[in-house]
Symmetry: C2
Subunit: 434 residues, 2 copies
């Protein structure tokens, strides 16, 4: 049964706290297994990758077939029906246009002492993008990961995607080609992350790894963090819909089910100021569940983690939303813009009933790789900044050193860092002797 809460009930706070703290991830500690896999790949390189892929993906590879050849890429791309290829192209164009607007500006200015200050952005040289395989092999994720990297100017982009039993999703390959990637490896799990982070005989190491994955991938990303950059540790997906009385319950139900069908650990929450809407959406979810292809997954998600919360007003809805800090937030209300000003912590906001979350998964333009598990409190969805770094710039003139050097010397001495002070003093003495 999903949870039903009434924000005006005396026991609401306890129920809401339980909802917030519910652990939705597999609690199995895979960290030790992952540590072993990483050590193995570091020690034995390609041989370890081949052995692990035989074991986990039941696929026999050689150093030559770890990577898709140009001919294989061509063959896979040719298998994609035209209408799907066109949809991918439309999605890619919109994602590219959105992310191009994210490119930050370099800056350089002179301060009042004559010193030149500023910064410069530059792309990472090489990035690795993890694409889940099997059930969750999503071509849209390829676009969402690769396009921001390309927009940022990353020269080398490598994709790893497991191909269990050799199964390849041709749309994933086509999406990679559309996004400008042509280095694609048949690798998944912690071994793929290890190969990207440390390199092997055939796979050069990258500087940054992004993309979602299962518990093994997440643990591996956490372990290689520092050696390379990573985007985030993604958990199960979630949606919060805030809806007023003026909605089609079926639309809301389908939006919530589109989250639930991802994963049994996904979470769909409705907050509404209309008890009638709460009931109607609940009924519509059950009705739609009956015929849904992925009703087992979506049903389990809804039963175990679904929630419906009634509130006295939308201001209360916004407050609760901020405590949930949802990955996806749909505002199906009359004035979504006004409500969005109150919902501070969210990965992505979808404004108004004409904006189902699924639009954002594919063709809206914004990224669908978003912070989960309340991490929207402190982190952002994937964006071009994930593939850029800022180098700060400073150039003193003799005059500016005269103006601010003595303060630096004072602070250096106060921190018992004598050489710091002397490095400034040597220059000041030279100026004073002129």
């Amino acid at each position: 049964m999903p949870v039903f809460l009434d924000a005006t009930a005396p026991d609401f706070e306890a129920g809401f706290a339980r909802l917030l703290s519910a652990k939705r991830e597999d609690s199995a500690d895979v960290d030790e297994i992952v540590a072993g896999i990483i050590a193995d790949v570091r020690a034995r390189g390609d041989a370890a990758l081949i052995e692990l892929t035989a074991k986990f993906d039941r696929l026999a590879l050689t150093p030559e077939t770890l990577r898709f050849s140009e001919a294989e890429i061509e063959t896979e791309c040719a298998r994609v029906p035209a209408h799907e290829a066109e949809a991918l192209e439309l999605a890619a164009a919109r994602i590219r246009a959105y992310h191009e607007k994210q490119m930050p500006q370099d800056a350089l200015w002179q301060d009042e002492t004559g010193a030149t200050l500023g910064w410069r952005f530059s792309p990472v040289s090489a990035a690795g993008l993890y694409v889940p395989g099997g059930l969750a092999s999503y071509p849209s994720s390829v676009l969402m990961n690769a396009i921001p990297a390309k927009v940022a100017g990353v020269e080398r982009l490598a994709i790893t995607c497991p191909t269990p039993d050799g199964a390849v999703n041709p749309l994933v390959i086509l999406a990679a080609r559309i996004a400008g990637v042509n280095e694609i490896y048949r690798l998944g799990g912690a071994q793929a992350i290890a190969a990207l982070a440390y390199g092997t005989e055939t796979i050069p190491a990258v500087d940054k790894i992004t993309g979602p994955g299962n518990a093994f991938v997440a643990a591996a990303k956490r372990r290689v963090f520092g050696r390379v950059g990573i985007d985030m540790i993604a958990g199960p997906s979630e949606i919060l819909v805030i809806a007023d009385a003026d909605n089609d319950p079926d639309w809301i139900a389908l939006d919530m089910l589109s989250q639930a069908e991802h994963d049994e650990s996904a979470q769909s929450i409705l907050i509404t100021d209309s008890p009638a809407m709460a009931r109607a959406v609940t009924v519509a979810i059950e009705r739609n569940l009956a015929t849904l292809e992925r009703r087992d997954i979506a049903g389990a998600s809804w039963r175990d983690y679904g929630a419906v919360i009634t509130v006295p007003d939308l201001a209360t809805a916004a407050q609760l939303s901020n405590r949930i800090a949802p990955e996806h937030l749909e505002l199906c209300v009359t004035d979504p813009t006004a409500l969005a000003e109150q919902t501070i912590h969210a990965g992505a906001i979808f404004l108004g009933a004409w904006t189902p979350e699924a639009i954002g998964d594919y063709v809206g333009g914004p990224n669908h790789v978003l912070p989960t598990a309340r991490s929207a409190r402190f982190s952002s969805g994937l964006n071009v900044m994930d593939f850029l770094k800022r180098t700060t710039l400073a150039q003193m003139t003799p005059e500016s050193l005269r103006a601010i050097g003595p303060a630096a010397e004072t602070l250096a001495i106060s921190e018992s860092l004598e050489a710091h002070g002397l490095s400034v003093r040597a220059r000041l003495n030279h100026l004073n002797a002129l």
Copy 2:
């Protein structure tokens, strides 16, 4: 003995590769100890903090004295000599002015279908700043961590700083007050990170933790990453100076020693196209080492990790610099701007001989919390973005949904996500029925 390499020598590549891969961090695996400390703080809260602080800092605390009182803050601030307070104020003003320029812009626009797209930045609600204690208790680090957070708009800022044997650096307290922080805890090590991440009876949890620390702090930050945001895993500090023949060898030597005096694991590297300068700097380092207060630390760093590399030209210097990806890069050359265009991977660049790195540590304006251990390949120094997150915004109109909805439906079906497709289809059917 520091390493001396000649970029034109046949065995250069092997020597340079050894330099790049030299492990400068204590290899002791503290992860298990840290995991135990975090679990203890989660389970027992303040009681664990008090016990661990008694053990590691030899300091008896109570829940009431974990935090500095207003009166204690006042007392500590009054102990700071006026010239040091003035230097701190100057540093704070310059750091604030620099970071204010980093504030990114929100964006909102309409695309050609009529859809509204954009994003919005908002600060994290609460941040925790770790300040090392003992030898490395640096008031400048308080400014460098707290001011970007304040500029970003973070409402609640908590500082933890160990006070071994009760020793407090009054400049740290004053720096906190100048930066606008007044929540200061007598806590260090992994227990401080655990308290910030999970909260205790007296310390509310924060959303983001920044600041440098020892191996225990680094391991703890790595462990709580995901629960909260963290800035980076900082390693030992390093400087690369690229100098031509036209320099005062003493200035270069002092700049290199100002890095070496931080830590026995710090690294100072000189690359020069002048063999005479290479020799002169080496001699000047030895001469200055003889009288330096921290000669034991700086001498060990220089002996164990120092390096001098001669190159045939500055273009080669830039190439080597990019492979090192130094935290601090000083360009003591005639045309530093031109050389900076070739040095892509660096945390901070100091242009020209009038810009000793120590200026950047204190009063330059840019942040001194910078990516170490080659991580400038993929990450940036601390900046206001570390305390902000981006929420993406999308609002479809019926017309824009008509234009791009079918492509979303196609891709959803191709990914076997039926409810995703249905959520779009339900709206399109409604439009078609109008």
